[in-house]
């Protein structure tokens, strides 16, 4: 015969265990929902408000192997890094349209651009950008040159550009073009002029 006080103690302990278990499951569901929201493709920040201003894009044309300057418009924030990111996102928007002259994979994006000392731009690409990029020296070089020329055209103070992928260094874009290098804008612009 189990004493009555023991029965009460066991019942309290069991209800406590079940209570804590239910609470932990609730916490787990909440955390899972939060991380799912973070990993979705939807933008994390609201689009930039304000009047659209003209920007210069250097668009690569695979068929002709040339680079052409084009004017577009975009609403730009005041911070240099955020401005540079919006400029590059406008360029990537062109490349992700149907019938693009230089198609990039869907979901290709620029996570961030950091402007260091006013002259070095550090561009953080997302993983979809590199994982979906076509492989080849020419196609990869066109992408790199287009990004750099566009960045520099809209911020002439930028003299060097470095690429990261998801915040880390990566050896190449898609097996060929160097992503470890610190690119010199003047050199790239020289090549872009040859391709215009």
């Amino acid at each position: 015969m189990i004493p009555r006080h023991m029965q009460i103690a066991v019942a309290l302990a069991l209800s406590g265990i079940f209570g804590v278990a239910f609470y932990m499951l609730h916490l787990k569901d909440t955390a899972h929902g939060g991380s799912a929201r973070l990993s979705s493709d939807s933008p994390l920040a609201p689009p930039v408000a304000g009047p659209a201003v003209p920007i210069t894009l250097y668009i690569a044309y695979d068929g002709d192997g040339v680079m052409r300057k084009r004017t577009a418009s975009a609403a730009l924030p005041s911070d240099p890094g955020a401005r540079a990111r919006e400029v590059l996102r406008t360029l990537l928007g062109e490349y992700q349209q149907t019938n693009s002259s230089h198609p990039l994979a869907g979901g290709s994006d620029v996570n961030d651009v950091f402007v260091v000392n006013g002259s070095i731009a550090v561009v953080d690409l997302n993983s979809a950008f590199v994982e979906g990029h076509r492989s080849g020296i020419w196609v990869e070089a066109l992408t790199i040159d287009s990004l750099i020329a566009t960045l520099a055209a809209n911020n002439p103070a930028i003299s060097q550009v470095k690429f990261l992928v998801e915040g880390k260094e990566r050896e190449t874009l898609a097996g060929h073009a160097d992503l470890m290098a610190l690119y010199d804008v003047a050199q790239v612009n020289q090549l872009v002029r040859r391709l215009e």
Binding site: G65, I137, W138, A141, T172, D178, M180, Q187, R194
Partner: protein
């Protein structure tokens, strides 16, 4: 020597190490591509101004001391394609191709694209022969010039 003769993975750094430790006179990275037409020849984006004097040079600028010989090599390769009457379009560009910057010697990359837009031409024996012939002749021609320059 061939850096690889099968479908094996050798890191880009290891390819440069192999070329450097074997003291290769010339390093040629041969690629197939599906964009554009004909042959594109690429040299390093480094310039002579990046050259470092002394015994120890930065890995990422090892090519800087050999920019001139690489340009000479590239010019001879382009010239050979032009005069070989092979009907293969050829163009020369500087490009950021790994591991050119890490090679301590004359180095270039060659990307062979379809001849007339059709991908099947890449496997065409006469096209491949024309490319191989032009490259081999260029390397034979340029070797004494590179040795004299060094």
């Amino acid at each position: 020597m061939m850096v690889r003769d099968g479908d094996t993975t050798i890191s880009l750094d290891d390819r440069a190490v192999l070329a450097n430790t074997s003291h290769a006179a010339v390093y040629v990275a041969l690629h197939a591509g599906n964009l554009g037409r004909g042959v594109k020849v690429y040299t390093s984006t480094l310039s002579s101004a990046d050259a470092t004097p002394g015994l120890f040079v930065p890995w990422e600028k090892a090519q800087a001391n050999f920019v001139r010989t690489s340009e000479l090599l590239a010019a001879v390769v382009v010239d050979e394609f032009t005069k070989s009457n092979s009907q293969v379009p050829v163009a020369l560009f500087p490009a950021p191709v790994r591991p050119l910057n890490n090679v301590a010697g004359a180095a270039l990359a060659v990307e062979v694209a379809p001849l007339r837009g059709n991908l099947e031409s890449l496997t065409n024996a006469s096209y491949q022969d024309a490319v191989a012939q032009a490259l081999a002749t260029a390397l034979t021609t340029v070797r004494p010039k590179i040795e004299a320059a060094q």
